[in-house]
């Protein structure tokens, strides 16, 4: 299921503004890779280039290549829609579909793609996904209630269930816990630990303890100044990044001596 991501010489732009410059890295399968760095350094932009969501933004454009195993996501003839089916995404703010029930939200990825699935099979997929997102016990008696009626933490887990229901190879998470309380955060962190058995996970976070807790490898991004493009400073095993990073800037950022 899980695939390796190999990024080479990637630049991303908003119109004429270069947001990230010359990023190359490898994301290992069945592991958690965390992106840390100051606001505006292009972590989220880079994350969105990994499933071609960057170009959804007006003016958004990408140069370079992103290899998913041996296929270039930006190669000629690649359909962004099928890329996004392979590389799922969870957003910063929980965004369940307000017109749909909990059940329909989880089924949305399949149903909106026009998949004809028998009721019993769909029930099984929904149950499996909700169990995968540790939400099943809380919602199994009210699957037909609106998804927007859940608490923030539950909504975010519903969004994770929705993302894993389409069985992607890779799961991208853009600050999935920044709008949540510590208990919901813990629930999601535990979940990330379980999900990495099956998926390749990339998570953007501002919380360095979180990066240290959940990730196997950590990438530090930084930008030279306002208006300058963000760059990858280094990527290494999380333990090494947090104990003995090879670049001074990383150590400064992690220890709070930033600037």
């Amino acid at each position: 299921m899980a695939k390796r991501i190999d990024v080479g010489g990637l630049n991303a732009y908003y119109g004429n503004h270069k947001a990230i410059e010359d990023i190359s890295m490898t994301v290992e399968p069945r592991s958690v890779t965390a992106f840390i760095g100051p606001s505006g350094c292009g972590k989220s932009t880079f994350l969105r280039t990994l499933n071609r969501m960057h170009e959804v933004t007006p003016g958004g454009r990408v140069e370079g290549k992103v290899m998913l195993d041996d296929e270039n996501l930006y190669g000629p003839g690649v359909d962004p829609v099928s890329v996004r089916r392979t590389v799922g995404m969870v957003f910063q703010r929980p965004n369940p579909f307000p017109t749909m029930s909990i059940y329909e939200n989880v089924a949305a990825g399949i149903r909106l793609n026009g998949g004809r699935v028998r009721k019993a099979d769909m029930d099984a997929i929904v149950e499996k996904s909700l169990k995968g997102a540790n939400l099943w016990k809380e919602v199994k008696d009210r699957l037909n209630k609106p998804g927007a009626g859940l608490s923030g933490g539950q909504q975010q887990r519903l969004c994770i269930a929705r993302a894993i229901a389409v069985e992607p190879q890779v799961l991208l998470m853009d600050e999935p816990c920044s709008a949540l309380d510590p208990i919901s955060t813990l629930a999601i962190e535990d979940l990330i630990g379980e999900l990495k058995e099956q998926f390749t996970i990339v998570i953007v976070t501002h919380n360095m303890q979180q990066a240290a807790r959940v990730s196997d490898r950590t990438a530090f991004f930084n930008l030279a100044g306002v208006g300058q493009p963000g760059k990858l400073v280094e990527i290494d095993d999380t333990a090494r990044i947090f104990s003995n990073p090879s670049v001074q800037a990383t150590e400064d950022y992690i220890s709070g001596r930033f600037g």
Binding site: F97, P98, N113, L150
Partner: protein, 360 residues
């Protein structure tokens, strides 16, 4: 303010705690209605005393007295900031009354006069064979005309308007979108008679078709389209971008995202917008006079021959100028208002039924 300064030493004598600066004298809750009643009474008295004949003048004097009275009273008792607050509040109330009084009197008048001849026979008979000076006759042919003309106009304008709005919000970038927006704005300002003249010269004079309900529908569609585009555009813009991204990130193609996520989320507002547009064109008379010609008999076929419609019927009966026709005009006005009202209720029903759900 004076009460406060008088109380202060007493409080200080009794207990050493400092005077609360958070508490201030307030007008009692019955003060605004009391001032309003007083102002109304004084307004009537001044009106009678000065021999002003117009009730509107009495009302305006009372309104002015109310606003000034509230301000003065609040300034004396509560202080300047509160007085300004009271001033704004009373102005809002006065404006609300000024807006609502004509509306209510219109409804009152229409219901009062219209219900005189409004009965089953009025709704189910045409004016065929009825002289305008005779009582009797009915509005059936006009209802048929309005329903068919407005229905066809909606069938043309709603899809075109909806798709235009979707283009502008979801796809439109660059020059074409700007041009479309510009022309939609221009179309919003087209007077109904101009739309009627356009269809008249194009459809009836150049292409040589006869008068028909359909010709009227085309003019109504021209009037309706920009309203639908505008309201739908606003509603689609209200759909949070996060929902689109959530759907796209699931690997859903853009057109399905629009169809299954964006439109259902906005459908309540879109339905309301379309209904308001329908309500706007249901009352149009000018294009009907030019293009549908008007008729006294039932014509069920909107594509051939003259028809009537409710606004045209009202105009025609009023122009006839006698008691029986006035009664019919008012009754038809009541029917028209009821028609628009029912449409509004339907739209609200759809909006409530389809609204994003938040229950637990």
């Amino acid at each position: 303010m004076s009460d406060v300064t008088m109380e202060q030493p007493q409080v200080a004598d009794r207990a050493p705690q400092p005077r609360s600066s958070l508490r201030q004298p307030r007008l009692p809750r019955w003060a605004p209605p009391a001032v309003a009643i007083t102002a109304a009474a004084v307004g009537v008295a001044i009106g009678l005393g000065a021999g002003l004949s117009s009730r509107i003048q009495w009302g305006l004097i009372a309104a002015l007295l109310f606003v000034l009275g509230m301000y003065g009273l609040a300034a004396r008792v509560e202080g300047r900031r509160q007085a300004k607050d009271r001033l704004a509040t009373s102005l809002v109330w006065v404006c609300f009354l000024i807006a609502v009084v004509p509306l209510l009197s219109l409804a009152w008048e229409t219901v009062g006069r219209g219900s005189k001849v409004l009965d089953g026979s009025f709704l189910s008979h045409s004016m065929s064979g009825v002289l305008t000076i005779q009582p009797g006759g009915g509005v059936y042919h006009a209802i048929i005309g309005t329903l068919e003309q407005v229905g066809i106009a909606t069938a043309i304008a709603a899809p075109v308007g909806l798709l235009t709005a979707i283009y502008l919000v979801e796809y439109g970038r660059g020059r074409l979108a700007k041009v479309v927006t510009f022309f939609v704005d221009v179309m919003t300002g087209v007077p109904s008679i101009v739309a009627g003249l356009f269809v008249l010269s194009f459809w009836i004079l150049m292409l040589d078709f006869g008068y028909s309900g359909f010709a009227g529908s085309m003019a109504l569609a021209i009037l309706m389209m920009p309203v639908v585009v505008r309201s739908t555009e606003e509603m689609l813009k209200l759909v949070p971008n996060e929902l689109r991204e959530a759907s796209l990130a699931l690997g859903v193609p853009k057109w399905r995202t629009i169809l299954k996520v964006v439109l259902p989320t906005a459908i309540g507002g879109i339905a309301t917008g379309v209904t308001l547009a329908v309500a706007r064109i249901a009352g149009e008379t000018a294009p009907i006079v030019l293009l549908v010609f008007g008729s006294q008999v039932i014509n069920n076929n909107p594509f051939d021959g003259a028809q009537s419609s409710l606004p045209y019927y009202i105009y025609e009966q009023w122009a006839a100028g006698n008691e029986a026709s006035y009664d019919r005009a008012w009754a038809a006005a009541l029917v028209l208002i009821a028609f628009v009202m029912i449409l509004n209720l339907v739209a609200r029903g759809i909006a409530r039924w389809k609204a994003p759900k938040h229950g637990r």
